[in-house]
């Protein structure tokens, strides 16, 4: 659903739901996930609906994922770094509430 301009070279590997994903330095976790073809980031805690990023700039809190074991992190506000681990919460639960 997204492709990358050729001038952006992937050189960082992160892990999304246990799978290695190659991504570019300077990416946010949200950009890395979208570039990897992931559109659904979570299920909404109240109605269970599928959600993904809306604003890409830290406002909407729709891109919440678990990052390095910490739940409810904003994927769009977290820069990628080698070995970072992302887990989606797509089972409808929202830890910590």
């Amino acid at each position: 659903m997204f492709r990358r301009l050729p001038e952006r070279k992937a050189s960082v590997t992160i892990e999304i739901d246990g799978e290695p994903v190659s991504t570019a330095p300077g990416d946010s976790v949200a950009a890395a996930m979208l570039a990897a073809g992931i559109a659904v980031f979570r299920h909404a805690p109240v109605d269970g609906g599928l959600r993904g990023p809306w604003c890409a700039m830290g406002v909407c809190f729709e891109c919440l994922v678990e990052i390095d074991g910490e739940p409810n992190r904003q994927a769009c506000m977290t820069p990628v770094r080698e070995g970072l681990r992302v887990a989606r919460r797509t089972d409808g639960s929202e830890p910590g509430r």
Partner: protein, 444 residues
Amino acid sequence: MSVDLVIVGAGPAGMAAAVEAAEHGLSVTVLDDQPEPGGQIYRGIERAGPELTAILGEEYEAGRELAADFRSARIDYLPNSAVWRLDAGARIAFSREGSASTVSARRVLIATGAMERPMPIPGAERPGVMGAGAAQVLLKASGLVPAGRIVLAGSGPLLLLVGCQLLDAGAEVAAVLETTAGGDYLDAAPTLPRALAGWRDLARGVAMKRRLRRAGVAFRSGVRGLAATGQSVRFDGGEIACDLLLLHEGVVPQTHLSRQAGLAHRWRPEQRHWAPVADALGRTAEETLLVAGDAGGIAGARAASLSGRVAARLAAGVDPGRLIAALDRERAMRPLLDRLFRPHTALPADEALVCRCESVTAGDIRQAVRDGAMGPNQLKAFARVGMGPCQGRMCGLAAAEVIASERGLPVEEVGSFRIRPPVKPVTLGELASMEGEAADAEAL
């Protein structure tokens, strides 16, 4: 820690203010929630290669020099900092890399910029629907170009700009659905006298629309009844299949911090948003708090950097001089654009999610009003609107509009959410990391 000036935000206003203030000998700390300077307008400018700058054009490229000046200025720049409390006494609490701190200043410049106005049409929360500005951010920051068929819907100059940029990036833009008749005025623009303030922006709008049409993009104006299905966009009288629907209804000031600090805010009826009450130079009712850039009212990047420099000079006790006239000229462009791209006032349909965090529809809000919710703050108790992680950023404006229309009152009488600290989520671990005076209960 105490400094002369703390600047919140490293977009054009914040960067220009930091450079100017440092030149006048002030000690400056800049707190910004992004990893790099530039704000949203110049997002990723330091890493942008020739391919990207060819797509984004010279207005984007203009940010490169400012970012370079900012990097070489004698300032304390703290990227990745989420500011979650601002007191009128000019004390700021923020989180950075897992721990929280406070900083005090003689003055604080609020340069938190703008955000896209949320556009609550039915289905807008589905994956495959985003802000047009969000698509532009992904392009700027990561060189991402949407694959598949794209439809843009809404109004405002950015809608056309993003359409053109995506075309230049090789994307397939199928249609532009304009909710206003505003775009039609662009067709008449070449006949307007060139002396008219804002003519240049209008001419750009005309050129963009022509470019899109030539590329075979379908246009519809005055579109009503928009709804996203995830695979298509529906509207009164039609449906277009698309892989990505980009919505845009203009940008609005980010006011959470200025509100939380206790500043008064004024409703701007021409653009249907709130802005902190400040004079033309960015001075507020609190001597310690200044506002610059789009956080004080939408005027664009050039005006933002000028207003940042003006605020920095005020903080340094230096006469802003000719900067004021330049700023006035820049702002004089806005009234025409504001009229042309006035956000349409169609209210969200009953089934549209207004509060995404708590999954509350416009219909739920209307019911709450019938049950006795008089304003946005009572709506929290009735329906939990605005009580999720986004803290009302996504629903505040639309919820107030719905209440106002149900009650037959102007929005300014209905009011807005009261914003309390922390304005960004803070973990207990971050709070526990605070030391000394900062850790006393009063800081929270």
